[in-house]
């Protein structure tokens, strides 16, 4: 209970301390993946590791490091996986190009379909016309 109160109090104290810093921490950590619950951002997750990493982000930004420095720090430890926007590299090429390849393939299929020759309708012969006219009478 005391611990909880302390955490809440510290949280409030930090939040009130520097809104600009807090915004930077929030913005940056919503670009980063929490490694414990992998589909959450570092900003959203309440896993203990996410709390530690957010504190790390806050501490480093506070000490004057740039967003780039903090990202490099985390990538050196956890790999590109922490980034929600993976960098364009050899092994992420398919990831980045994939949707465009699929789009091009789809357009290609559509093109084939549109330009396909429709077989010309058979001309009616004289006798067919006569028959049709008779039926319509």
């Amino acid at each position: 209970m005391v611990r909880l109160a302390l955490v809440l109090f510290c949280g409030l104290a930090i939040a009130q301390e520097d809104p600009v810093l807090e915004k930077r921490v929030r913005d940056l950590s919503s670009e980063l993946r929490c490694l414990v619950c992998q589909n959450q951002t570092l900003a959203d997750s309440s896993a203990p590791l996410a709390v530690d990493l957010r504190n790390q982000v806050r501490e480093q930004l506070k000490s004057g490091k740039s967003e780039r420095d903090v990202i490099d720090f985390l990538v050196a430890r956890y790999g590109d996986f922490v980034l929600y926007r993976p960098p364009l590299k050899g092994n992420t090429l398919l990831l980045w190009a994939g949707p465009f390849i699929l789009l091009a393939f789809g357009l290609f299929l559509l093109f084939l379909r549109i330009t396909r020759k429709v077989p010309a309708e058979a001309e009616l012969s004289e006798s067919d016309r006569a028959r049709a006219a008779k039926l319509l009478e």
Partner: protein, 172 residues
Amino acid sequence: MRLAWTLGGFVALIVLLAVGLRLNPREVPSPLIGKPAPAFELPLLAAPDKIFSQKDMLGRVWVLNVWASWCAPCLVEHPQITRLAAGAVPVVGLNYKDAREDALPWLSRNGNPFAASVYDGAGRIALDYGVYGVPETYVIDRKGVIRYKRIGPVTPEILKEKIEPLLKELNG
């Protein structure tokens, strides 16, 4: 012809999804493989006034095992760690975000396989090692370079197929 194409596409999709389902998203490749083990100077678990550093292990092949008394999978892998430590290679334990009064009884209860145990109560050094789920196990070579990292418990299969052959190779 058309049916063959549709069927082919369907099978390809099934294969893709089947492969995707078998991949384990928790096994994130560590960028630390092939890099020097991050430096640390931490107090020993049993003797807070004594300092242990990764430099103390230079010149030897060793294993670093990150564990905690609150971590259930650590207990699951404990027999494997014990078996590993009985071999030629020293295993150093890094006690992660734990309390000494919990960790020390855990060791006396379950057996202490560690050549040395260091205490990282705040988890700061573990952060440098890219720890995100205890237990984690690192194989470090004579030059202090990380050669292998296991995230999650060491199973008997992993011990036999991955870690022991690697240790043999590094020691050979």
